[in-house]
C-alpha cells in the first residue's frame, strides 16, 4: 500500500480505515473480551410496570452450583450508594422552582416503576448458571396502578408514580415571546392548528449495551470497559456521585462500540451494579444485554404529543408560531432526559423561517415506562417535524402551494447573522439557495410523468419537502493529544467517541493533512480516561466540530514548535520559517527540514532552542467552542402509496445539506444516509408501544419494525459549501443528526401529498400500511 499523505486533510474522500476491522470480524467489542477468572452477570428485571416489592428471596438461587452473588435493593441500601443524577440543562419550572428529580438508584429499592427496571443482579460462573439462578429468585410484587401515556399521567387522579410529585410533572418550560406570538395570531388572517404525535422509538444499535468490570483489591482501583458513548463524564458520575470511590480510582474505557445513536450516552444502572459485584467477589464481572433486554432497558427517544399552531396571512406570510408539547420522561429523569422535550425541542422552533412571534411551552411528566434520553437529534427532529408538517397542513387547508409557502418565508441571507426568536445565533447560511438547489435536483419537472406512470399501476405518487434548521450540541470542550512514538507511529488521542461513524479515519486524515505525515502512521485512541484528561464523548453532532477543531488546534501548535526547532537549526528567527506540505523552510534559501526531522530532533536537547524541552512536540490542547453551529438543509422525497393496502414506498430522495466545510464527503454521505434510514424508520414503521398497564408490547424485533436495506430509496446527496461557519476552526456544522431531522417530515409530507385527493392531510407516525389505509377509508367515509 502506497503511503498516503492527505494533502490538506480537508475535502478528501479518504476511505474508512476502520472498516476492514469491522467487516472482517476483527472489531473488539465488549462481548469479545474475556479476563482471567471472569464471572458473568445478568440482571433480573421487573415484569411489573408499577409495584411494591414485598420481598425478594434468593436463597435457592444462591444455593445453585456456580452462583456467586445476588445483589438486590437491600444491598444497595446497606451500601449507602448515591443516586444517578440528571444533568438536564433545564432545571427550573417556569415559576422558578426546581425540577423534580426522584431518586434514581441503580437497582430497585422497595418499589418498581417500569417493566425492565433492574430488581436483582445475579453473578455466576457462567451465563447458564445466571439463567438458572434467575428462575429461582422469588420476588413478591404487590401491583399498583400504572400509567404509560404522558397525557394521562398529568391528569388529576392519575396513578401517582412518586409520592411527592403532583400530577407526575417533573418540569414545565417556556421559551419565546408569548405576547409577540399572541399579537401575531391576532393580526394574522388565519390560524391553523395541528395536533401531532412524535412517536416513541429506540436506538436498536447492532451491539447491545454491555460492560466488563474489574477491581484490583490491592490498589483499590476499578477498571470498567463499557459500550458507552460518554466515557469521561459518566466516569465522574459513576465514581464520584454514585459509588463514591473517587474518579481517580475508576479507569473507564470504551472499546469498539457498535452503534449508539444517543442510546449509549447516559449513565445506566448495569455497569454500576457490576462494579459493585466485582468488588464484592474480587473477580472481573461481565454483563451484556440480550436484544429483548435492550428493548426493555435502553433509554427510548421522542414520545412527544404536541399542538402546533401557525398564524399566516392570505398572501402566505408567516406571522406567528405556537407549540405546546407534553413530552414523556419515563419513570426517572434520564441523564439529560428532561432537557429533550423542553430546551432541546424549543431552540429550533420556527426553523429557517421568518416570524413576528414564536412561543414554545412544554410539560415533562413521568410515566411507568423506561426512561427517555437523547435519541439522534434529541429535540430538533421534533421541532422540524412540527414546523414542516404545519406548513404542509396549512397549505392543504388553505389551498396554497407548500413549496411557495416555504419560498416566501425563508430567512434571506441579508438577515444574517441574526439571533432567532428562540435565541439561536444563526451566523451564516443561504436558506433560499439551499432550498432552490433541493427543488432543482429533485427533478420537479419530471414529477407529473412519474405520477402518471404510478397512476397507471393504481398507485398514488406524492412529493414532499422539508427545509430544516437545527443546531449542534454536546460538550463544548474537547482535547486532542498527539504523541510521537519512538517506533515512528503518531498516537492521536481525542476525547470524542466514535460508535462507528469514522473518527478513526477523519481525525487521522486531518492530522495527516495538517502535519504532512502518513495517515497510516497515525494510531488513534479514544474513549479512554487514561488517553485524554477530558472528553466530551459523542452527542449533538459534535465530533468534527469540537474534536476536529481540537485536532486542528493541536496540529497548529505542533507546527509552531516545529518552526522553532527549524529556526534553531537554520539559525534564523522562527518568524521566518514557513511550513508547507510537511516541510519547514526558509523562503529564498535551500534550508528545509521535514516534519519527520523535527520530530526526530525533539528528544535531542542539542537540536532544541533553550526555551524548548525534550518531547516538546508531543502536545495536547483543548479546544472550546463558543457557540453551537447551525446546520440546515433541504430534504425532498417522492413516495408511491398503494391505496388498496396502504403500503408506502419511498421512491426517490434528494438532500442538500449546509454542513459548512465538508472534510470527507464519503463520511458525511454516510451520516446523512444513516440519518435518513432512521428518519424513514420513524416515519413509516418504528414504534415503541406500551399498553395502558405499562407492559411493553414491542419487546423484540418480531414486533418492533426496523427499516431494511430494500426499504431505502436511491438517495441523491449534495452539499452547500459556501457558508463555512467561523464558530470553529474547520468551518464545519455538525452532520451527524441532520438526516433524521429532515426525513420524517419530508416523508410524511410526501404521503399526505399523495393522498390529498382523498382529503387526507395528516396521519400520525409511523405511517404503517394499516394507518394509511384507515386514513383513506375514514376520509372516503367522511365524504
Amino acid at each position: 500500500m502506497a503511503t498516503y499523505v492527505a494533502r490538506n486533510g480537508i475535502g478528501e474522500n479518504q476511505r474508512r480505515v476502520e472498516d476492514f476491522r469491522f467487516l472482517t470480524g476483527h472489531g473488539h467489542y465488549i462481548d469479545d473480551m474475556k479476563l482471567e477468572n471472569q464471572a458473568y452477570g445478568m440482571v433480573l428485571r421487573s415484569p411489573e410496570a408499577h409495584a411494591d416489592i414485598k420481598s425478594i428471596d434468593a436463597t435457592e438461587a444462591l444455593a445453585l452450583d456456580g452462583v456467586l452473588l445476588v445483589v438486590t435493593g437491600e444491598d444497595w441500601k446497606a451500601a449507602g450508594y448515591g443516586t444517578i443524577p440528571t444533568k438536564s440543562g433545564v432545571r427550573k419550572f417556569k415559576d422558578g422552582s426546581d425540577l423534580k428529580e426522584p431518586p434514581h438508584h441503580a437497582i430497585a429499592i422497595d418499589r418498581v416503576r417500569y417493566v425492565g427496571q433492574p430488581v436483582a443482579l445475579v453473578v455466576a460462573e457462567s451465563l447458564d448458571a445466571c439463567r438458572d439462578a434467575m428462575e429461582l429468585i422469588e420476588v413478591d410484587y404487590e401491583s399498583l396502578p400504572a400509567v404509560s401515556h404522558q397525557s394521562e399521567a398529568i391528569k388529576d387522579g392519575a396513578p401517582q408514580i412518586w409520592d411527592d410529585i403532583p400530577n407526575n410533572i417533573c418540569l414545565d418550560f417556556e421559551l419565546g415571546d408569548e405576547d409577540a406570538q399572541k399579537k401575531a395570531f391576532e393580526d394574522a388572517d388565519h390560524v391553523i392548528t395541528l395536533e401531532l404525535i412524535n412517536n416513541r422509538v429506540t436506538a436498536t444499535p447492532i451491539e447491545p449495551r454491555g460492560a466488563l468490570a474489574d477491581y484490583d483489591a490491592e490498589s483499590g482501583k476499578f477498571t470498567l470497559w463499557n459500550a458507552s458513548q460518554n466515557i469521561h463524564a459518566n466516569r465522574d458520575t459513576i465514581a464520584d456521585t454514585v459509588l463514591k470511590i473517587g474518579k481517580e480510582n475508576l479507569h473507564h474505557i470504551a472499546p469498539d462500540v457498535g452503534g449508539g445513536f444517543g442510546g449509549k450516552n447516559g449513565v445506566y444502572p448495569e455497569p454500576i451494579l457490576i462494579l459493585h459485584a466485582a468488588r464484592e467477589i474480587k473477580r472481573p464481572v461481565k454483563w451484556v444485554n440480550d436484544r429483548s433486554e435492550s428493548f426493555l432497558s435502553d433509554t427510548h427517544g421522542r414520545d412527544q404529543v404536541s399542538t402546533v399552531q401557525l398564524a399566516l396571512d392570505n398572501d402566505g406570510t408567516f406571522r406567528g408560531l405556537r407549540t405546546e408539547t407534553v413530552g414523556n420522561l419515563g419513570a426517572f429523569c434520564g441523564t439529560v432526559g428532561p432537557f429533550t422535550p423542553t430546551g432541546g425541542s424549543s431552540r429550533t422552533q420556527g426553523g429557517p423561517f421568518r416570524f413576528d412571534g414564536i412561543y414554545y411551552t412544554a410539560i415533562a411528566p413521568f410515566t411507568n415506562t423506561c426512561p427517555l434520553d437523547p435519541y439522534r437529534g434529541a429535540g430538533r427532529p421534533e421541532g422540524s417535524y412540527q414546523m414542516d408538517r404545519i406548513i404542509d397542513y396549512a397549505a392543504a387547508k388553505l389551498g396554497m402551494d407548500p413549496i411557495e409557502l416555504r419560498r416566501k418565508n425563508l430567512i434571506p441571507p441579508s438577515d444574517l447573522p441574526m439571533k432567532s426568536p428562540m435565541g439561536l445565533d444563526i451566523d451564516c447560511g443561504n436558506f433560499p439557495e439551499v432550498f432552490e438547489k433541493t427543488i432543482e435536483i429533485s427533478d420537479r419537472a419530471g414529477f407529473e410523468k412519474r405520477k402518471e406512470a404510478s397512476e397507471a399501476k393504481g398507485l398514488k405518487r406524492g412529493f414532499g419537502v422539508c427545509m430544516y434548521l437545527e443546531c449542534t450540541g454536546g460538550g463544548p470542550k474537547e482535547e486532542a493529544k498527539v504523541t510521537f512514538r519512538d517506533d515512528g507511529k503518531v498516537e492521536l488521542s481525542v476525547g470524542t467517541a466514535s460508535t462507528g461513524m469514522g473518527h478513526e479515519t477523519v481525525f487521522a486524515q486531518l492530522l495527516s493533512g495538517h502535519l504532512g505525515i502518513a495517515m497510516e502512521d497515525v494510531v488513534f485512541r479514544q474513549s479512554d480516561t487514561d488517553a485524554t484528561d477530558i472528553g466530551g464523548g459523542h452527542g449533538g453532532s459534535r465530533g468534527l466540530e469540537v474534536g476536529g477543531s481540537a485536532v486542528t488546534q493541536t496540529s497548529r501548535q505542533i507546527i509552531e514548535v516545529g518552526k522553532k526547532i527549524a529556526a534553531h537549526r537554520f539559525d534564523v528567527d522562527a518568524g521566518e520559517i514557513e511550513f508547507e506540505e510537511g516541510r519547514f523552510h526558509v523562503p529564498g534559501t535551500n534550508h528545509t527540514m521535514t516534519i519527520r526531522d523535527a520530530i526526530d530532533s525533539q528528544n535531542d536537547p542539542d537540536s532544541l532552542p533553550d526555551d524548548l524541552e525534550p518531547g516538546c512536540m508531543n502536545i495536547s490542547s483543548v479546544f472550546e467552542r463558543g457557540i453551537i453551529s447551525i446546520p440546515n438543509g433541504g430534504h425532498a422525497c417522492e413516495v408511491e402509496v398503494d391505496p388498496e393496502t396502504g403500503t408506502v414506498k419511498v421512491d426517490g430522495y434528494w438532500v442538500v445539506d449546509d454542513f459548512g466545510t465538508i472534510v470527507n464527503k464519503m463520511l458525511a454521505d454516510g451520516q446523512v444516509m444513516g440519518g435518513i434510514a432512521q428518519g424513514l424508520g420513524q416515519a413509516l414503521m418504528e414504534n415503541i408501544h406500551y399498553d395502558e398497564s405499562g407492559q411493553l408490547v414491542t419487546g423484540s424485533l418480531m414486533d418492533y419494525a426496523l427499516p431494511r436495506a430494500d426499504d431505502m430509496p436511491r438517495m441523491v446527496i449534495d452539499y452547500y459549501e459556501d457558508a463555512p461557519t467561523e464558530k470553529n476552526l474547520l468551518g464545519v456544522k455538525g452532520a451527524g443528526e441532520a438526516g433524521c431531522v429532515g426525513a420524517p417530515p419530508a416523508i410524511v409530507n410526501a404521503v399526505c401529498d399523495a393522498l390529498k385527493e382523498y382529503g387526507v392531510h395528516h396521519i400520525d407516525m409511523p405511517l404503517t400500511p394499516e394507518k394509511v389505509w384507515q386514513a383513506i377509508r375514514d376520509a372516503k367515509a367522511a365524504g
Binding site: 447458564d128 439463567r131 393496502t645 414503521m685 414491542t698 419494525a705 426496523l706 400500511p769 394499516e770 389505509w773
Partner: protein
C-alpha cells in the same frame, strides 16, 4: 438453553427408535423455529432427534401430474428448482420469499409444515395446492392436516417424509409481509385445477384456512373481479398491533384478486 441430549439417526426407522429412547424427544429439522425457542428457554426437550443425517429425506422429484418435495429439502432448493419453477411457479416464488437467505438455506419444508405457524408461508401452499403430506405412517390430505394454531394431524412421533404437490393449471401467491418480521401478515394462495379452484389464506387467522365463497366465485369465473369485499368476515381473524382483524379481512380480498391476476399471468 436448558441442557439436552442429541441423537443423529440415519434412517426413518432409527428416528422412531431414537424418539422411543428419549424421555421427551423432539425432532430437529432446520431449526429455524426450534433453536430460537430453545435459546429463550421456552422449551425443555430431553433430546433433540436431528433429522439431518436421515437418508432419503431430501430432494425434489417431478412426476407427470405432481411434484414431490422431500421433508428436509430447504426453501432455497425449492425456490431454485427448475421443475417447480416451470410447473408451479407460485410455489417457487413462495419458497423464495420465506425469511432471508440464511433461513432459506437452513429451513425445511417438513419443519415448516409440521410447525404450522399461523403466519408461515408453506401451509398456504400445502392447503392452497391441495397437497398430500406423506408421513412415516400414512398419507394425509392437506384439508385434514392443519388442525389449529401450531397444531396438525400428526401423531406423537409421526414424521413428515415428503409433500406431494399436484400441478395446477394456474396458481398465484401474494404475500403482504408483516413490517417487522416479514412473515405473512396475510398471504393468499390461489390455485386452479380444471373446474375446481382452491383459495388458502395464511397469516390472517389462528391457522391457515380455505375460503369457500371465493373458491365458488372463482370456479364460476376465474377472474380478479369475482373476488368481492366481505367474502371473509373479520370476526375470527387475528387482531394485533400489526393489523386489526378488519384490515386483515380487507387484505384477504385485495391479495386474492392479485393472486388470481398473477395466476392468469
Amino acid at each position: 438453553m436448558y441442557d439436552f441430549g442429541i441423537k443423529n439417526p440415519t434412517s426413518v426407522d432409527d428416528v422412531k427408535t431414537a424418539l422411543g429412547e428419549s424421555d421427551d424427544g423432539q425432532f430437529l429439522a432446520g431449526g429455524q423455529t426450534l433453536i430460537p425457542v430453545l435459546k429463550q428457554r421456552l422449551a425443555m426437550p430431553s433430546d433433540l432427534i436431528s433429522l439431518a443425517r436421515v437418508d432419503g429425506l431430501s430432494g425434489i422429484s417431478a412426476g407427470g401430474d405432481s411434484i414431490s418435495v422431500k421433508a428436509m429439502t430447504c426453501h432455497a432448493e425449492v425456490a431454485a428448482n427448475a421443475d417447480i419453477k416451470s410447473a408451479i411457479p407460485a410455489l417457487a416464488k413462495l419458497a423464495g420469499g420465506i425469511g432471508d437467505p440464511h433461513v432459506r438455506n437452513r429451513g425445511t419444508i417438513g419443519g415448516s409444515v409440521a410447525n404450522n405457524d399461523p403466519a408461515a408461508d408453506y401451509p398456504a401452499a400445502v392447503l392452497g395446492l391441495g397437497a398430500t403430506v406423506v408421513t412415516s405412517e400414512r398419507e394425509i390430505e392437506a384439508d385434514n392436516f392443519f388442525t389449529g394454531m401450531f397444531d396438525t394431524a400428526l401423531n406423537e412421533g409421526e414424521l413428515i417424509t415428503e409433500i406431494s404437490f399436484p400441478i395446477p393449471e394456474a396458481a398465484g401467491y401474494i404475500k403482504f409481509p408483516n413490517p417487522a418480521t416479514r412473515y405473512a401478515l396475510v398471504a393468499v394462495m390461489v390455485a386452479k385445477f380444471g373446474n375446481t379452484v382452491r383459495v388458502a389464506v395464511t397469516g390472517a387467522g389462528p391457522c391457515v384456512f380455505r375460503v369457500a365463497e371465493m373458491e365458488q366465485a372463482l370456479t364460476a369465473s376465474f377472474s380478479p373481479d369475482s373476488i368481492k369485499d366481505g367474502m371473509v368476515p373479520a370476526d375470527d381473524l387475528n387482531n394485533d398491533i400489526h393489523a386489526s382483524r378488519e384490515y386483515r379481512a380487507h387484505l384477504i380480498g385485495v391479495l386474492a384478486r392479485r393472486a388470481v391476476a398473477e395466476a392468469n399471468g
